[in-house]
């Protein structure tokens, strides 16, 4: 699905240069479920953002479906991103002014899909994540777990083939965290590639492979034996 080659990301602020990712080489196959772990500040989010094309690398290559997108402009990336990639954030990032259904629909809005079909697909995905009865509610009226379920629904409603999740359970209690993980697992089983940043070893266990980062380097990659 994607391949990072000698990928480096450095942030320059005024005088200091922070190297967030240093010569990273990673390959992810279609249909994989990969967890990324590591201490705070090691570059996990940076990595995920670059994979998700929300940010661009400073140097190196990024092959997405065999296409090197490293040098692409923001708008070029945007086109690929909206076709293939869905996002889930720790802080949900729902738009407060829109209802649950509208928040989910937003992901289809930029896709030239007729209104009737949009409504259908939104309804279907809401059923799937069990949030249909909350369709007309505002995000502020939902619990954290419910909000994250909306975010998951939003990430998949466009039939994205890959979901990137940055600490999706970070703001949730154990039970709700579990729920979200099961949802991701189900999506993975249906064929969606999932890359997830997490601090929780037990949640990392849902993944087939775990990549450990330290100071911008990949230190270990471990495969889960049982599958």
């Amino acid at each position: 699905m994607l391949k990072l080659q000698d990928l480096t990301k450095a942030y320059r602020t005024d005088e200091v240069e922070t190297v967030a990712l240093n010569n990273v080489n990673i390959e992810i196959e279609t249909g994989e479920f990969v967890a990324i772990m590591g201490p705070s500040g090691c570059g996990k989010s940076t990595l995920l953002n670059i994979i998700g094309m929300l940010d661009t690398p400073s140097s190196g290559h990024y092959f997405f479906k065999d296409e090197d997108v490293a040098g692409y402009s923001e708008s070029q990336l945007g086109v690929i991103r909206k076709q293939h990639i869905g996002f889930i954030f720790q802080s949900f990032n729902l738009i407060d002014e829109l209802t649950v259904a509208e928040n989910i629909e937003l992901a289809l809005l930029y896709h030239d899909i007729p209104a009737a079909e949009r409504k259908e697909r939104v309804a279907a995905v809401m059923d799937k994540v069990g949030i249909a009865h909350r369709a007309k509610h505002m995000p502020s009226q939902l619990s954290g777990g419910q909000q994250q379920r909306v975010a998951v629904a939003r990430a998949v409603v466009g039939n994205q083939s890959m979901i990137l999740a940055d600490e999706p359970t970070g703001n949730l209690d154990t039970a709700h965290g579990q729920e979200v993980m099961e949802m991701l697992q189900k999506l993975n089983e249906e064929g969606t590639t999932i890359v997830m940043v997490t601090h929780s070893p037990s949640h990392a266990d849902y993944a087939r492979r775990t990549i450990n980062l330290l100071d911008g380097h990949v230190v270990t990659e471990s495969m889960r034996s049982k599958i």
């Binding site: 945007g78 996002f87 990032n93 729902l94 738009i95 002014e97 509208e102 937003l106 939003r154 466009g158």
Partner: protein, 821 residues
């Protein structure tokens, strides 16, 4: 897609209710104020433009070389001769004069202003004929034409065509045509028209058309397209020089006054009355500088409201970054995000436009009545005005959406999601520029308002040089009344209700129409005493409360004071003279006492006779403002004689209600054939100045509103700056800064911008106000005070808003503000 944008737009407007309301109201009020002012300015600048070929229409003026006075009138018979002499240059000529006559319909008597016109007057001034035929209407000398308003006034509820009225008790006229009313933006105020050829009959003046030097008529010319007014005026003067010549030609200059100048010329003598006595509408001439200052305020208000709106939208955009990030993550392109912002501000601007139109609908009539101008909101919807407005609104919407669109939409989604972009929104230079501009306009407006306010106060409270209180004015508008003056005087003065009675050719509030040029035996030719001349009766100065600064008033107690009427049989006359301070100064008598006892004379020839009037100056009287406070008082000479056009009665204090019926009864007794024509000097004076005062109070109100709108924008900007720094404030607090430290720091930053704004605004406002003040002969000395006050207000505002915002930001527990990352 679009529906979603709109949906989102309304959600956002509702979500930030208070903010949106402030922003929309600010723009709506700003737009409304500008629209109202523009309506007024448009009304004033459109004066007489509806006349066919208005830019080729001129009114002939003449100027007296000796006194420098210029007259709106021109010599009665000469315009026709001149027009005939230059047939290629003059397309059309028409003349008018207005005269108040006694009008009877059956037994009902009333004074009405009758206009004597050439039959082509209606065509010349593009009147619409409502019934009858205006072209032929005046062909018969006993026909009359009425405006609709006059028809309704004289013959209410009837068809006026065919009805008759009588002038001065013995001239019958029949109404043969009705024309539409004078437009409110036409300088014409006539409603009852009869043929000009009736003038010699009604004025009982058979030689009227034979006297080249009399100037009772207004003469309008429509020139051919290829000649300018100045060139034609030179030709007209050439004609006079070649065909009349002599002293007359040497002493005059000829002007062709553009039709469109009439409403803006406040300096002419013999100007046509501006009051339409039938409709009650008054159309005072305006100073161009007044109109331009109004236009300027309209423009500033529009600019300030726009900037305000833009500033607020920018400030608000910082609250939208996360939303933008999410949308981008979900695939929104930069263009789509930009569109959303532009749509939102355009929708808000349109809401503001609609609200402003509602405000204008409500306030236009009120505003118009305050200004004495009939304004209706209808004018907005005509022609390019509304399209201009809509276009402006769209522009405002697009521009104010553009800045957030440009910056917020360009933010990298990864950063937007992380909230790392707060500092990056737009360049701080641009923001500083906006703050400076907004403050500059506010400071300029506030200081200009201060100057206008002080000047108007000064002008309206300036001593007039006479006392209009408790003075009844009675017009001696017929021979019977003039003959009865002395009898009425003697009877009135005996009453305890009356303090003083006098009469004169002219009183304050009237036009100073007659002039005299005096020489002095044995003086150098430089000696100049050119004055306006007023013939008064005994007691004039006392009755009007005009104080002598040297010598004594003219009085019948001194037999030599009275100047007899000169005539071919009696060409040398002499008498006493009182001059005013301005006249004394002009003659070089810097100390008024120096004027007393001086002998001067006026010499002129008329026909074949040389006349000479010798005058002995017996007193110098304080300057009085006969006309506008704006113009310098004219040099005036007062002679004691018989030309009683008006009687003035000073009533003893508190007795006005009893005195009025008493005066009426005396009139009735001695002038039974004519109803009394009476007014109060105080009211005449007030109607003269009140409008002017009101116009400027209005101006002050508007400038105040504009300044207030500016403050809203300042608050928005201050909030924005404080919000941006929430985190920094948190850090500083953690490091030990007190809330006060933080407030001081933020305020100082804004204050620096305010200082720059002052540096820009002061000189600009100073120059403008200097220009405006130049239109007043008596003006305040420009002081720094209004500018200082404006500057201080701006500082207070800057401090208040930043403090308020900084205070709340600084009081937040740093844990929360730091978490906002």
């Amino acid at each position: 897609m679009f529906a979603n944008y709109l949906n989102m737009t309304f959600r956002n407007i509702l979500k930030f209710r208070l903010y949106s309301a402030i922003n929309i109201i600010g723009l709506a009020v700003g737009l409304a104020v500008s629209i109202l002012i523009i309506l007024f300015v448009a009304h004033e600048t459109s004066f007489d433009k509806a006349v066919k070929g208005s830019d080729r229409v001129y009114r002939l003026n003449w100027e007296s070389n000796s006194s420098g006075a210029r007259f709106a009138t021109f010599f009665n018979p000469l315009s026709k001769n001149i027009a005939e002499a230059y047939p290629d240059d003059v397309e059309d000529l028409t003349r008018i004069t207005l005269s108040e006559r006694l009008l009877n319909i059956g037994d009902e008597k009333q004074y009405q202003t009758i206009s004597f016109v050439d039959p082509n007057f209606f065509d010349f001034f593009s009147y619409k004929v409502k019934s009858g035929s205006a072209e032929t209407a005046l062909s018969n000398l006993n026909n009359a034409v009425l405006t609709e308003a006059a028809a309704e006034l004289l013959f209410p509820g009837e068809d006026a065509i065919g009805k008759s009225f009588t002038l001065d008790g013995n001239h019958d006229f029949q109404v043969t045509a009705i024309v539409d009313n004078n437009k409110s933006n036409s300088h014409q105020v006539s409603n009852i028209f009869v043929n000009m050829e009736m003038l010699p009959v009604i004025w009982n003046d058979p030689t009227f058309w034979e006297r080249n030097f009399s100037d009772q008529l207004y003469h309008y010319l429509r020139l051919a397209p290829n000649i300018t007014g100045d060139v034609f005026a030179a030709k007209a003067y050439e004609y006079i020089k070649n065909n009349i010549g002599g002293d007359f030609a040497n002493n005059i200059a000829v002007y062709a006054q553009p039709l469109n100048d009439i409403h803006f010329n406040t300096e002419l003598q013999n100007e046509m009355t501006v009051k339409d006595t039938v409709t009650g509408l008054s159309k005072p001439a305006r100073q161009r500088s007044d109109i331009s200052i109004f236009g300027f305020v309209a423009l500033l208000t529009l600019i300030i409201a726009t900037f305000n709106f833009i500033n607020m939208q920018i400030a608000q955009s910082s609250n939208r970054i996360k939303e933008v990030g999410v949308r981008k993550v979900l695939g929104a392109s930069r263009k789509q995000i930009a569109l959303q912002f532009i749509l939102e501000s355009t929708v808000m601007a349109l809401i503001a436009l609609v609200s402003s139109l509602v405000i204008v609908e409500i306030f236009a009539p009120f505003f118009g009545s305050m200004l004495g101008v009939p304004l209706t909101a209808d004018q907005i919807y005509s022609g390019g005005f509304i399209s201009g407005l809509i276009l402006t609104t769209f522009l405002v919407g697009i521009i104010s959406g553009f800045y957030p669109a440009l910056f917020v939409s360009g933010v990298l989604p990864a950063k937007a999601i992380q909230g790392r972009v707060f500092d990056g929104i737009g360049s701080s230079k641009l923001r500083a520029g906006l703050v400076i501009l907004q403050f500059s306009i506010a400071i300029g407006l506030i200081s200009a308002t201060g100057v206008v306010n002080r000047q108007i106060d000064f002008a309206l409270n300036k001593p007039l040089g006479y006392q209009p209180e408790d003075v009844i004015v009675v017009r001696l508008n017929n021979q019977e009344a003039r003959d009865a003056y002395q009898t009425m005087h003697d009877q009135l003065i005996k009453s305890s209700l009356v303090q003083n009675v006098s009469a004169a050719s002219i009183i304050p509030t009237w036009d100073l129409s007659d002039g005299a040029t005096y020489s002095k035996e044995g003086e150098s030719p430089d000696f100049k005493l050119v004055t306006r001349l007023i013939i008064v009766a005994d007691g004039y100065f006392d009755t009007l409360g005009m104080n002598m600064v040297a010598g004594r008033p003219l009085s019948d107690d001194f037999a030599a004071d009275r100047t007899p009427q000169f005539s071919p049989e009696n060409p040398h006359v002499s008498g006493g003279l009182v001059i005013n301070e301005t006249a004394a100064k002009q003659a070089g008598w810097t100390n008024p006492v120096d004027a007393i006892g001086q002998q001067v004379y006026a010499a002129f020839s008329f026909g074949n006779t040389n006349y000479r009037i010798d005058s002995n100056i017996v007193g110098v009287v304080e300057d009085a403002h006969f006309r506008s406070i704006r113009s310098a008082p004219a040099a005036i000479a007062f002679g004691l004689g018989d030309n009683e056009q008006v009687m003035v009665i000073k009533v003893s204090e508190g007795n006005m209600s009893k005195a009025v019926p008493f005066v009426d009864s005396i009139w009735q007794q001695h002038v039974p054939s004519y109803p009394i024509r009476r007014s109060f000097l105080e009211e005449d004076y007030a109607s003269f100045y009140a409008v002017e005062g009101r116009v400027f109070r209005m101006f002050i109100g508007f400038a105040g509103i504009a300044a207030m709108i500016a403050c809203i924008g300042l608050y928005g900007l201050a909030s924005f700056i404080a919000d941006r720094r929430t985190k920094e404030i948190g850090v500083r607090k953690v490091l030990g800064a007190s809330v006060l430290n933080i407030v001081a720091m933020l305020s100082w930053e804004l204050s620096k911008l305010v200082i720059i704004a002052n540096i820009i605004a002061w000189p600009a406002a100073w120059l403008m106000m200097n220009d405006w003040l130049a239109g007043f002969s008596y003006r305040i000395n420009m002081s720094i005070t209004p500018y200082l006050i404006a500057g201080i207000i701006a500082f207070i505002l800057a401090y208040a808003t930043t403090s308020l915002r900084a205070w709340s930001a600084a009081r937040i527990n740093p844990i929360y503000s730091l978490k906002s990352e």
